[in-house]
């Protein structure tokens, strides 16, 4: 008798705790859904805003028009800012990739005094707040006439982008087996030949990823660009900042959609390549 009671009590307790678990489960899934919605909403919202017909920002947007995109492509000030940003990002990508790859080789494979300190120095531009870098750069480079012009931006953005290249190429080099290079040297290749025929092809995915990071680090960079832009030399991010602050039109939504498409395409390509190559499991 007593045993049956116990079994019954256990079953009741089980059912109760399971019902409690189900409620908890639903609450957790609901909460998770809300957070994911919170994360993705701002990126998604600019797309409908950019094709609505109203000339002020309203929601839900009515109608469908490409007028804001046309306005963006026809406006000389938006176009010159876009080209300025693209030129800077192009040069930054090239310079940061070359400088960063060379340094990564030395930092991973070379003999260097004070290597730890050098590595910390290399990633310092990522740690120091960009507002401090921006103000400091302006203080030193404005008197030299290097603000509001292409060369000043090329220097500043290469400095900001190069840590990303060192980190990505460094990681690729650490995965690369040095015995392969030794084998090439053993077969009579020179250091340079071994590098271009054996090392570089193996770390190329890392170098390419570093180059994309460098491009976006420059193209999307807003804080330093805000301080060292001029009336003539103005990046797309500085132009956006001004328009958001003073002149909130749907053209900004159109520009935002274009920028987002560029970023997502570039980063998505890297992510897919990374998953394909199996480097994503980093074991």
């Amino acid at each position: 008798m007593a045993e049956a009671d116990l079994a019954l009590a256990e079953r009741v307790a089980n059912v109760r705790s399971r019902a409690g678990l189900d409620v908890a489960r639903i609450l957790v899934i609901l909460g998770l859904g809300l957070v994911l919605f919170f994360l993705i909403l701002p990126t998604l919202i600019v797309v409908p805003m950019s094709v609505g017909t109203a000339s002020y920002i309203s929601f839900p947007p009515e109608g469908f028009t490409l007028r804001w995109y046309i306005a963006y492509f026809r406006d000389p000030s938006w176009m010159s800012a876009t080209w300025f940003s693209l030129r800077i990002a192009g040069v930054t990508t090239l310079a940061a990739t070359v400088i960063g790859t060379l340094a990564a080789i030395a930092l991973v494979r070379g003999r260097l005094p004070g290597k730890e300190l050098l590595q910390a120095f290399t990633i310092a531009p990522l740690v120091v707040p960009h507002i401090v870098i921006a103000v400091a750069f302006y203080l030193t480079f404005a008197p030299l006439g290097l603000t509001g012009n292409f060369y000043g931006f090329a220097i500043a953005h290469t400095m900001l982008a190069v840590p990303y290249v060192v980190i990505t190429v460094g990681a690729a080099l650490q995965r690369f087996d040095p015995a392969l290079e030794l084998a090439a040297l053993n077969c009579g290749a020179t250091r340079l030949q071994a590098f271009f025929h054996v090392v570089l092809p193996n770390i190329l995915p890392g170098v390419a990823a570093g180059a994309v990071f460098a491009f976006l680090a420059s193209f999307d960079e807003a804080t330093v660009a805000f301080f060292i832009s001029g009336i003539e030399g103005k990046t797309i991010t500085r132009k956006m900042f001004e328009d958001i602050d003073f002149n909130l039109t749907p053209v900004i939504a159109a520009v935002s959609t274009v920028l987002t498409l560029i970023s997502l395409t570039l980063m998505g390509t890297i992510e897919i390549a990374r998953r394909r190559s199996g480097a994503g499991s980093d074991h």
């Binding site: 920002i57 070379g110 260097l112 707040p129 290749a189 807003a222």
Partner: protein, 295 residues
């Protein structure tokens, strides 16, 4: 084939062994980077800090001003307060997302990963702009609030501290999720299962097994979020107002409007010191978590 069984390689040019590059070669390779960082980063930042103490003559007046004037103390306090609240919110929102990303299999995990990575890859300006659209007077949030009858007149949401906290939490959330995710992924699910087999309930298994093991990632995510929140400029500048002045927006104001470079230098020094101290902590948290995944 073990390396020792290879014949001693005859290497042309460089005298280094074992495939490593000699000191001279290494120095040549790393010198463009040192030159670039020296000229464009270390020298300007050093000069800004130097100015705060020695321009025009040696003085600590700019530093005592930060502590002596209530306005600046309030800004300093507010900066840490906002960074703290943002970090706590990011942890509360971010941990469950990281957990789901690490434990849910297949397509749904991809969907969650996309929800984390897509905003991370979207320009900060675009995300800040989206929050302005959402929070403005005739914006979406106010429309929803009015239509559901929660409020009659539109609320002032933009340019408030709440708006700054909300937008910053959104922008920084992926930096919290990713480090936690990477430690959770390295914890075998079997550990929690073993605890369940030994009679622990699901909450108990989580609190006593999974949560403690994921602490290194949580520490790294928390510190990186806090560091980024302290020095954040774009979002507080656009979403905040005069009453939500933070360290970064105050530094900008001192340089662009008041042209007080020494004082901006002193403020930068305070911000920089706080950041570097936290970064040193971060390195420790990181080596801690590395120790875990290797052993």
């Amino acid at each position: 084939m073990p390396e020792s069984s290879l014949a001693q390689p005859r290497i042309h040019g460089s005298p280094s062994s074992a495939g490593r590059y000699g000191t001279m070669t290494s120095l040549v390779l790393v010198s463009p980077l040192i030159l670039l960082l020296g000229i464009a980063f270390a020298y300007p930042v050093g000069r800004l800090l130097w100015n705060s103490v020695f321009a025009p003559e040696p003085t600590l007046a700019h530093y005592t001003r930060i502590v002596a004037e209530p306005l600046y103390l309030v800004v300093l306090w507010r900066t840490f307060q906002i960074a703290f609240i943002v970090t706590v919110l990011a942890f509360l929102f971010g941990y469950p997302v990281a957990y789901a990303m690490a434990r849910i299999p297949g397509r749904r995990a991809m969907l969650i990963a996309a929800c984390v990575l897509v905003p991370l890859w979207t320009s900060i300006l675009v995300r800040t702009y989206a929050w302005i659209v959402l929070l403005q007077r005739n914006g979406i949030v106010n429309t929803v609030l009015q239509e559901t009858g929660l409020t009659e007149t539109p609320l002032q949401l933009l340019y408030t501290q709440g708006a700054v906290i909300l937008a910053m939490t959104h922008v920084l959330l992926p930096f919290m999720v990713l480090p936690i995710y990477s430690t959770l992924r390295n914890i075998p699910d079997d550990l929690a299962k073993a605890a369940r087999n030994l009679g622990a309930g699901a909450p108990q298994a989580f609190i006593r097994i999974t949560l403690p093991l994921s602490l290194p990632g949580a520490a790294a995510g928390t510190l990186i979020t806090f560091i980024l929140a302290l020095g954040f400029y774009i979002t507080p500048a656009l979403v905040g107002g005069p009453r939500t002045l933070m360290m970064s927006t105050l530094i900008a104001q001192q340089t662009t409007e008041l042209l007080d470079w020494p004082f901006a230098g002193a403020l930068s020094a305070v911000l920089l010191t706080s950041t570097l101290l936290l970064a040193a902590l971060y390195r420790r948290a990181l080596s801690f978590s590395k120790g875990f995944s290797n052993g």
